[in-house]
Symmetry: C2
Subunit: 381 residues, 2 copies
C-alpha cells in the first residue's frame, strides 16, 4: 500500500507534542523535505528545485499547519492537513516570511520558544536572511532548537514504514541479482552505472536518488567518485551501492563482484567483511548501542592490521539515505525495536578498500535482515 | 569533454574575489553542493546523504580552501584545490566547527566580514547550532551575507557550461522522441514515469534527479504530484517534465502528448502555449528583463481569460534544476549573453492546466533554442 493511514500522522504528531511539552516548546518549525513529509505525507520530487521554501508548523495541540507556495496547495490538500496557507512564490519582497510569522504568532504565546531542528544531520532550508527577518517579526517569541525531537521520533520506524523500506530493499535485491546481465569484462563502468539504474527502475523503484560504487584492480580507491568510462578488466572488484526509493523510503546497501578470478587476499577481505556484518547482526538487539555494533565489527576488521582507518561502519536509514544513529565509537544511542540500520564494514586491501553493506531491522528479539544476506564468497562475473 | 580546465575555476574564483573586494568581504563561506562545485568541480552524488556538512572558503586572494569530511579527501584531491583540511565525520562533539573556525581565522583579518549566501533560493547547509558555535569561535569576525555574489556569477554561464546543458537537453530530446515506445492507451502513468527515466538513462543521462508530469482528461490538475497508477485513456493529455543531469548540469523542459484525439480547446491551448514561448524567445536579447519575458507571455496567455493564475513562467537553469532569475513581473534582472533560461508558460483549460517548457541561451544577438523547438501541433500517441 502506498501512503499511510491518517492515524500514522496523528500518532507522529501526538508523540511530537508530548515531547514538545516536556521540552517547553510551543511549536516546531520544519523546513526540510523529510521533516515536512514525516508529519504530512507530502511526497513530491519538486524539492529538487531550490527556489521555494516550504514551512510546516507543529503546534502544541492539533494538526500541523502548512505555510507553503501556492504551487503545492493542490497536493498538500490531498494529505490529512487542513490548515494550508499559501503565497505566490517566489516573491522577491516577502517570500512567505510575513505569512509564516503571522501563523507562528497565532499558534504560540508571547513568551514561546519555537523549536527548529538544529543538531547533527539537520539544516534549516530557508534563506538565512529570511530566518533573521522571521526572528525580528516574532517579537519576544524565540527561535530555539528542537531538543532532538525529530531525531528521536524518526529514528524508530513504524511497521508501515519498515514495510516500505523492505519493499525498496527487495527491489534493490532483484536489481543486484541481475547485475551479471549488464556488467562484465569490457563494459565501461559508467555504462554499468547507467544500466544498473535502469534495472532498479525496471524492478520497481520510483526513482534512484543515489548510486555510488567503483571498480579497480583488487578493490577501489574511493566510494563517492562518479563512474569512470574505463572498461572492466579481469581482477577488478566491482561494487555498486544504491539508495533507491519506493514510496518515499530508501534502501541503502551494496554488493561486490570480482571480474574474473579474485586474488586470495581479496576473497579473504570479502569474507572478513561478511564476518563483521554478521557479528554486528548477532548483537543488534534492544539494549545494545550503536557503539557496540561498531566495536564488534572493528575488532574483526582490525584483526590483521593496526589501523584500518575505519570511519562510520553503518547508520540509520529511512526517509533519507542516511539517518541517525551513526555506528561510531562515540555514538551511545541505545537500540530499540523499529530502528532500521545499515551495517557497513570497510577494509583495506593494499592501497584499495572493499566495503560491504546490509540493511537490518531491530526487533524485540533477534534482528532481521531486510537486504538478502550475503554469504562470505565473493561472486564472480 | 567532462569536467573543466582549471582555468575555468581560476576565472570563477577571480571574478568572485573582485566582487568580494567591492563588497568588503574577506572571504566567502559556502556550504551547498552547487556553491562548492562551482569553485572546485567537486562532483559526487554523496550529497544525497544529509549526515555530513561540507565547507569551502573562498579567500580574498588565492585558491579556495576545502574543509571537508575525510571521506571526501581523495575525490577533492583530484580537483584543482590544494588546501584540503579534513576531519573524521561525523564527530558528535565537534563536527568540523573548530577546523573551519581556525581556517577562517587564518584566512581573514580580525575585523573581517565573511559572506554566506543568504538571499533568495539559498540556504546554509549546516546544523544551525553549529552556525552559532562557529560565530562564537570567530571573535570579532562577523558572518554576513554574500551580497548576491554567487547569484550574479552563476547566472551567467561560460561556453563550457552551456555545452554541458546542451548535452543534457539533447539527451532529453532523444528520450522525449521515444515516448511513443513506452506510453499509450492502457499503460499506467507510474509505469510511463519509470520507463521514461530508463529512456533518459539509455540515451546518456548520468542520473535523473527530477521527473514530474501528469495525465488526465484534457489536461492535468497539478504538475508536482507523484505519478498515479491509473492507465492512460483516450482524451488524456500526458505531460513529462524532466530535469536530467549530464556531468553535473541539468536540462529542464517538458513535452505534451494527446492520448488519441485531442479536443479542439486542448489543441488550441497547446498552440497558445507555443505562441507564448515563441514570443518570449523573440525578445530574449541582452537588455530585455526577466519581467519583459513574463509580460509578453502573459499577454498571450491571458488573451482569452481575465486571470490565468500565472505564477512563474520560467527561470534560470544550470547546476541546479531551477536558478535565478525568475520570469515574474517583479524580477527586473537584465538579460546578458550566457544566461540559460527556461520559458515555461502555463494555461488553464476548464479545471485543468497545460504547461509547456523550452530551454534557451541568451547570446549577443538572437537567442538560441537548446531544447528542440516544439511546433504548435499537439502530438498524438
Amino acid at each position: 500500500m502506498r501512503g499511510f493511514d491518517a492515524s500514522e500522522f496523528q500518532s507522529r504528531t501526538e508523540r511530537a507534542q508530548q515531547r514538545m511539552a516536556q521540552a517547553g516548546l510551543s511549536a516546531l518549525l520544519l523546513t526540510t523535505e523529510p521533516e515536512i513529509r514525516y508529519f504530512t505525507g507530502y511526497l513530491t520530487r519538486f524539492w529538487e528545485s531550490p527556489t521555494r521554501p516550504w514551512y510546516l508548523i507543529v503546534p502544541a495541540t492539533g494538526k500541523p499547519i502548512a505555510v507553503i507556495p501556492s504551487i503545492g496547495a493542490a497536493l498538500m490538500a490531498t494529505t490529512w492537513i487542513e490548515d494550508i496557507r499559501t503565497w505566490s512564490a517566489p516573491d522577491l519582497t516577502d517570500d512567505g516570511v510575513s505569512l509564516l510569522a503571522d501563523a507562528l504568532c497565532e499558534a504560540c504565546p508571547m513568551d514561546a520558544v519555537i523549536g527548529l531542528p538544529d543538531g547533527h544531520e539537520t539544516h534549516v532550508r530557508m534563506p538565512l536572511a529570511n530566518l533573521h527577518r522571521l526572528q525580528d517579526r516574532l517579537g519576544a517569541r524565540r527561535l530555539g532548537g528542537d531538543d532532538g525531537i525529530l531525531r528521536a521520533l524518526r529514528m524508530v520506524k513504524s511497521t508501515d514504514e519498515i514495510t516500505k523500506i523492505e519493499t525498496a530493499c527487495a527491489i534493490g535485491g532483484r536489481a543486484f541479482h541481475r547485475v551479471p546481465e549488464i556488467a562484465g569484462e569490457g563494459v565501461a563502468l559508467d555504462e554499468v552505472f547507467r544500466r544498473f539504474q535502469m534495472l532498479c527502475l525496471e524492478e520497481g523503484a520510483d526513482w534512484v536518488p543515489y548510486l555510488a560504487g567503483g571498480a579497480e584492480q583488487g578493490g577501489y580507491a574511493d566510494v563517492i567518485s562518479p563512474a569512470s568510462p574505463s572498461a572492466l578488466v579481469p581482477g577488478d572488484v566491482l561494487m555498486l551501492d544504491t539508495g533507491l526509493v519506493w514510496d518515499g523510503y530508501f534502501c541503502d546497501y551494496d554488493r561486490n563482484w570480482s571480474v574474473g578470478q579474485a586474488a586470495p587476499q581479496v576473497r579473504d577481505a570479502h569474507a572478513t567483511l561478511v564476518e563483521a556484518s554478521d557479528a554486528a547482526f548477532e548483537i543488534a538487539r534492544p539494549g545494545a548501542t550503536a557503539a557496540d555494533l561498531f566495536n564488534v565489527m572493528n575488532a574483526i576488521l582490525s584483526r590483521n592490521s593496526e589501523d584500518t582507518g575505519a570511519g562510520r561502519l553503518g547508520h540509520g536509514l529511512g526517509m533519507s539515505l542516511t539517518e541517525w544513529p551513526s555506528l561510531i565509537p562515540t555514538d551511545h544511542t541505545v537500540l530499540e525495536p523499529g530502528m532500521v540500520l545499515t551495517l557497513e564494514p570497510g577494509i583495506a586491501v593494499g592501497d584499495k578498500i572493499l566495503v560491504h553493506e546490509e540493511n537490518i531491522v531491530i526487533t524485540e528479539g533477534a534482528p532481521r535482515f531486510i537486504s538478502a544476506r550475503t554469504g562470505p564468497e565473493l561472486p564472480q562475473i
